[in-house]
């Protein structure tokens, strides 16, 4: 048996950002298969354009258009591409100075081996078939024989449908491990038991157990089996629908202080109208059928009223 339990977790979020006038022009240009840069106060043409001049710190406004061909100024081989990169087979990342620009930009270069890349080689943008106004409208660079066509020209009209925002999906994959103490807790849950751990310094019992007592920093060591019955210390009525919600609102999410524990944990209170849930209410764990159990807190379907008289406020006031 491994020391800890672990499971794959994917964290994903779409970042929505406004682009402003400078990056908006750059991204609008890409959508139209045009590459927009700016001329800085030093006279250098920079692509992608910085929003503010690196020397004067003024907002840039001298927009120019450069070619979709350029020269590699540095490169590196990518033998094992990671998810989301422009190509899913080995490729090169390159710094490419586009014809008409004075500094390079980073993008992928589609070649099949490092033997096919060298600093100084000529490349051309391969445009994405569907372009939305994003850096990925440049699918990648590819080798070309075309010579340099000259200098940057003043930016012309980009049309009346400017890009004003971008959505960047971010997705990260993790193998998420529980601590040894959390692992013991989930292994016990898989057997229908609830365990906590007692802090040897202050004597408090934590459930789920933590790696250290948050009050005094001492590792918790002594395992304690806990009752499946407890007291609602505080609660909220969920009225707002949200993505992934499994129960139709209104329903109650509550802190339940199990008998013998010193810290409450969050769970659902069902089998009672939401408006009748109250602080001090006595509740018990309702377990799902045994064949549905796993190493998860969801083995406990919810907590349900026991029908006992409410607990005295003094018995849980230290745990709010």
């Amino acid at each position: 048996m491994s020391r800890t339990l672990s499971a794959p977790v994917t964290v994903a979020f779409d970042y929505t950002r406004s682009t402003g006038p400078v990056l908006g022009r750059f991204l609008t240009g890409l959508r139209e298969k045009r590459v927009v840069g700016v001329r800085t106060s030093e006279g250098r043409v920079v692509v992608p354009p910085p929003e503010f001049d690196p020397v004067t710190h003024q907002q840039v406004d001298d927009f120019v258009e450069v070619a979709d061909t350029g020269t590699v100024t540095s490169w590196t081989w990518v033998p094992e591409p990671v998810k989301g990169q422009p190509l899913d087979r080995p490729f090169a990342f390159a710094l490419v100075t586009l014809d008409g620009a004075d500094v390079p930009m980073v993008h992928a270069l589609d070649v099949t081996s490092p033997d096919q890349v060298r600093t100084g080689m000529r490349v051309r943008i391969r445009w994405a078939e569907e372009r939305v106004g994003a850096i990925t409208d440049i699918a990648c660079f590819e080798p070309t024989e075309d010579a340099a066509p000259g200098t940057a020209i003043k930016l012309g009209d980009l049309g009346d449908n400017p890009v004003t925002g971008v959505i960047t999906p971010v997705e990260l994959d993790y193998l998420y491990a529980a601590s040894p103490e959390e692992s013991s807790f989930y292994r016990a849950i898989a057997e229908g038991r609830i365990i906590g751990q007692r802090c040897p310094t202050c004597g408090k019992v934590y459930v789920p157990p933590r790696s250290a007592c948050p009050a005094d920093g001492t590792p918790t060591t002594d395992e304690v089996e806990l009752s499946h019955t407890g007291t609602v210390t505080t609660f909220c009525i969920v009225n707002v629908p949200f993505l992934g919600q499994r129960i139709t609102p209104p329903y109650v999410s509550a802190y339940v202080l199990l008998d013998g524990a010193d810290i409450a944990f969050l769970h659902l209170i069902l089998d009672i109208p939401a408006e009748e849930v109250r602080m001090g209410m006595r509740v018990q764990a309702v377990w799902k059928p045994r064949e549905e159990w796993g190493t998860t807190i969801e083995n406990i379907s919810h907590f349900s009223p026991t029908g006992e008289p409410d607990a005295d406020y003094d018995t849980y006031k230290q745990h709010l």
Binding site: W75, T76, L95, Y176, S179, S211, C213, G217
Partner: protein
Amino acid sequence: MRDVAVVGFAQRQMEEFDGSPTCVELLVPLFAECYEQTGWTRRDIGFWCSGSSDYLAGRSFSFVQAVDAIGVIPPVNESHVEMDAAWALYEAWLKIQTGEVDTALVYGFGKSSAGTLRRTLSLQLDPYTMTPLWPDTVSLAGLQARAGIDAGLWDERAMAEVANRSLTDAEKNEYAIRKGGSSVEELLARPMYADPLRKHDCAPVTDGAAAMVLAAGDRAREVCDRPAWITGFSHYVDPISMGTRDLTRAPSAARAAAAAGTEGVEVAELHAPFSHQELVLRRELGLADDVVVNPSGGALAGNPMFTSGLIRLGEAAKKVWQGDASRVLGHATSGPALQQNIVCTMEGRN
């Protein structure tokens, strides 16, 4: 300025930490080591500051969970940076300079192996023009290495010399996760990985944690025979764009070194996660040829994210405690291709 010294340091490094990314389990024994070194308890610590990232942990507020390792009744004075803990040390040093506290414990932690580290780090780049391409850390370092090779500033042999010396020195470092030098010829005979980088040119993905104790004046003298007194501490940042800066240089490192003062430094621990970056740093910091660089083996022997920089400072401070050196330098970097740099110089006094 108040005299402030490093008086405690503890670290752990490993290839893969089989535990929660909150790293409480790693931090508790590190704090215990710091208490033992100083004879203090947590109540003697005036300020706590940590360096870590939720992107590494894959969960929100992981640094709040880590506070469990301190114990916060009564409440503690605490802060956090989403940078290497060397920057947390800078905040703690400033806090002591204000006179509000006399002591601080700084820690960093990270479980790099929980995700794909080189990919996760793409999220520190420009979100409009860079992150959507997911340029991984190794690729960005490769672009930098090639730029220096093309410019004739270094070559593959010079990079292999850095790696060979680091892995040889790492044999004496019980915390190193990659160690064992061979020869420059043998290293150069190994296959390319991310051309122009071989695998030994790239720091290994490392999990770990570290903690360091700072104290002012007499509080330092009370607990340490030969405190590592901080004589200079400075950090600067270069533009994030890879196109508009000369990748073969790190002006922010040069400015930090100039502000901290590198005169008389005998030992320098440089945070160079890629072999060629040590060559960039040696030049920017203006280190003389007789300065001993990375006797610990440096980041090429172990590079726990959010901790590796603090470990460089700790390894440098240890040289002072042990009486091996009188003036030492610790450096840390953050961001892509040496974008951000911090330099801390320390000295022993008799």
